[in-house]
Amino acid sequence: MKKKVLGVLLSTTMVAGMLSACGEAAGTPASTTEQPASTTTEQPASTTEATPAADTTAATPADSSTAEAPAAAADEGKVLNIAAWNEEFKSRLTDHYPGYEVVDGTTGKIGDVTVKWLITPNENNAYQDRLDEILLGQENASADDKLDLFLVEADYAVKYTDTDYTVPLSDLGVTADDLKDQYSYTQAVVTDSNGVLKGSSWQGCPGVMIYNRKIAEEVFGSQEPADIQAKFSDWDKFVESAEELKAAGYHVISSTADTFRVYQNNAKLPWVDGNKIQVDDNLKKWAEDSKKLYEAGYCDTWDQWGEDWNKGFYPEGKVFAYFGPAWLIDFCMAADVEGSVAHDGGWAATEGPQGFYWGGTWICAATGTDNAGLVADIMKKMTCDPEVMKDIVLKDNDFVNNKPVMEELAKDPSYKNDVLGGQNPLPMFCAGAENIDMANLTAYDQGLLGDFQKAMNDYIKGNYKTIDEAMEQFYTLALQRYPDLVR
C-alpha cells in the first residue's frame, strides 16, 4: 500500500513537473503571439509615455547638445541599431560625430537616442549570416529592434544594395550636392543595377606598396620612394628585385596572398556573367606568377592575418614589402607595439607595379528604419562634411572620401605619416583613387575570390600538378557555395 502511494506520488510529481516544463516549451509558440504583441504595443507606448515625461525635465539641460548635434526629430525612434563587423566605424563615430557619448562597450547615446552596436566578426561569414536574418525579419521586428544602419564591404556590397532592403540615399534626403566631393568609384560600389545610389563611405582605399626603409637602404642603396619605384615599376622588375632581396636573405613580400588584390583589381571580367562563373586571365596570371615567386624562394604562402604572415611587421621578420591601402598602414601594422617596424616609422610607400584598391567600408540605411533623419545626418556628417573628414585624416591617418580635402592635404608639407617615417603618401593615394574602376562587382565576389585563392594556394604550394586541376577544385567549391551558378 505504502509502495503504491509512493509510486503515485512520485509519478504525479514527475508528470506534473514535465507538463509544467512542457507548458513553457509548447506554450511559447502560442504565447509568443500574445506576449511580445502585448509587450511590443506596451513598450513603445510606455517609452513614449515615460521618456517624454522624464525627458521634459531631464532633456532641458541635454537639449542644448541635441539641438546642436543631430536633428533627431521628435517622431523618430529612440533606439538606433547599427550592425558592423569590427570597431572601426564605432571609433570613428565616437571620435568625430558631434554629440555622441559612450555609454558602455556596445551602447552609446546621441542626444536622447540610444545607439546599439550589433558587432559580429566577419569570420566564417558570421556577420552576413546575422545581417541576413535581421534584414529578413525587419518587417516583423518591433520599432526599437529594427536595424537602422549597417556596414558593408565592396566584396559583397551588391548583395545588399541591389535589393529593396536598402534605402536609396535620395529618399533619405542626402542629395547629389552633398555627395559631389566623393570619389566616383566609392559611389559606383553602392549603386544598384538601376543606377540608384544606396550607400556612402567615408573612406577611399587606393593601395600602395609599403616597403621597409632599412632593407631598401641595405639592398638597393637607397630608401627614397622614387628610387624604389624604379626597381618595382612592373612585374618583371619586381621579380628581378626579388632576386636581389633573396640574395641578401629577405623575402620580397610575406605571402603570395599579398599580391592577389593587385592582380584581381586589374582584371577585366566580372566574376559572374548572368549565372555563369568566369575567371579573368589576370587571375590565372596571379596563380602562375605566385607559383614562380614561391618556388624561387622569394616569398612564402601564409594565410593573411596569421602570425606567420605578420612576422614582417617586425625587423626579425625579414620581409621587404606589403601591399595595402591606408587602413593597413594605420590599423594593422602593429604601430602601437614597441619594437615593430611601424612603431619606429620604418616603412615607406610607393606605387608599386600596378595600382589597386583593397577594402573599404560603406554605410547603408536599412529599409524600415525608424530613425531616417538621424541616419541621414550620420551619413552627411561622416561621409560628406569636409570638417569632420579632415579631422579623420589628421587624427587617424585614414584616407577619406573627399577630393578637395585630400588634395589640399596632399599639398600640405606639414602633413606627415609617422608610420611611414614622415612621408606624405597622400599624393600617391589621391592619384590612385582617381583611377580605381569598380564596374566589375557582383554579389558573388567575396565567396568566389575566397574559393579561388583557396584552390590556387594548393597549386602554388605544389599540391596540384597543373592549374587545370586547381581550376576544377575552384569550380567544385564555388558550386557548393552558390547553387544557382553554373560553370
Binding site: M14, A25, N125, D132, W302, G447
Partner: protein
Amino acid sequence: MDKKQSNGNVVKFNRWGYIFLIPFFVVYVIFSLIPLVTTIYNSFFENYRSGLKQIGPNFVGIANYFKLLGTPEIWKYLGNTLIMWIGGFIPQIVVALLLAYWFSDPSLRLKGQRFFKTVIYMPNLIMASAFAMLFFALFSASGPVNQILTSIGVFAEPYKFFDHIASARMLIMFMNFLMWFGNTTILLMAGMLGIDTALYEAAEVDGATATQIFFKITMPILRPIFIYVLITSLIGGLQMYDVPQIMTNGAGTPVDSTTTVIMLLNRHLTSKNVGMGGALSVFLFFVTGILSLVVFRINSRSEN
C-alpha cells in the same frame, strides 16, 4: 480469484512504467523524430537563398540525391572520413585494450590506477574545437613543435604540417585517438571487470599462457562490448566534423583531403541550402546504417 487479482495488480503497476517513460518519448519526438522526418521531407525540395532572395521551396523529387551522388566530391569526402576514422580508431582500440587489460588484471597490482584512469579520460573533457585550436598553434610553422624540431636538427627549416596530405590527416587521426582512447578504455574495462575471475583461475590451473587467456577467454566474452565500441565509434567517426573543421578553418586543406562529409553540410550553410543539406544528411544516415549492419553481421557470424 486470487490469481486474477494479482494479475490486475501487475497491469496496474505496469501503467506506472509507461508513465515514467513519457518524458523520454516526448523529448525524443520533439528533438529527434520530428527533425528526422522533416530532414527527409526537406531533401525533396529545392530550397536555398541566393543573396537575400529565397529560391523555392519547389518540389524536385529525388533530384537533390542525383545531384549529390553524381558529383565526385561526395565520394572523396566519404573516403577522407573513413580513412581518418580508421587511422584514429586502430591505435585507439589497441591502446585501449592494452590499458583495460592492465587495469582489470588484479595480479598486476598496478598502483595509482585511479589517477591514471582520470588522466587518460582528461582529453575527452576538452572541447574538440579547443583541442584543434591547440594543435593548430602547436604545429604551425612558427609553433613550438617546429621550433623544437628545427633546433634539434630534425628539419633544416620549419615543416608545414598543414600543407601536406599525410601530415594533416595524421594530426587529425592523432587528435581523435587522443580524445577517445580514454573513453574506450573505460568501456572495455567495464566489460573486462564483468568477467568471472574463476574462469581466469581455472585457465591458469590448466596451464594457459597469458596470451591464450586473453584471446580464448577475455576477447570472446568481451565481444558484445567490443561490437558496441566499434559501432558507436563508427557512427561518431562518420560524423567527424569539429576537429578538421577548426584545424583547417573549414577549408579541408590541402587539396580537400581533410574535408569530411559533415564539413560539406557546413558549406551548404552559406546559401542556406536546406534541400541539399537534407539529402546529404539522409545519405549519411543510410551509409551509417549499412556500415553498422555490416560490422554487426561480421561479428555475430564469427561467433557461430
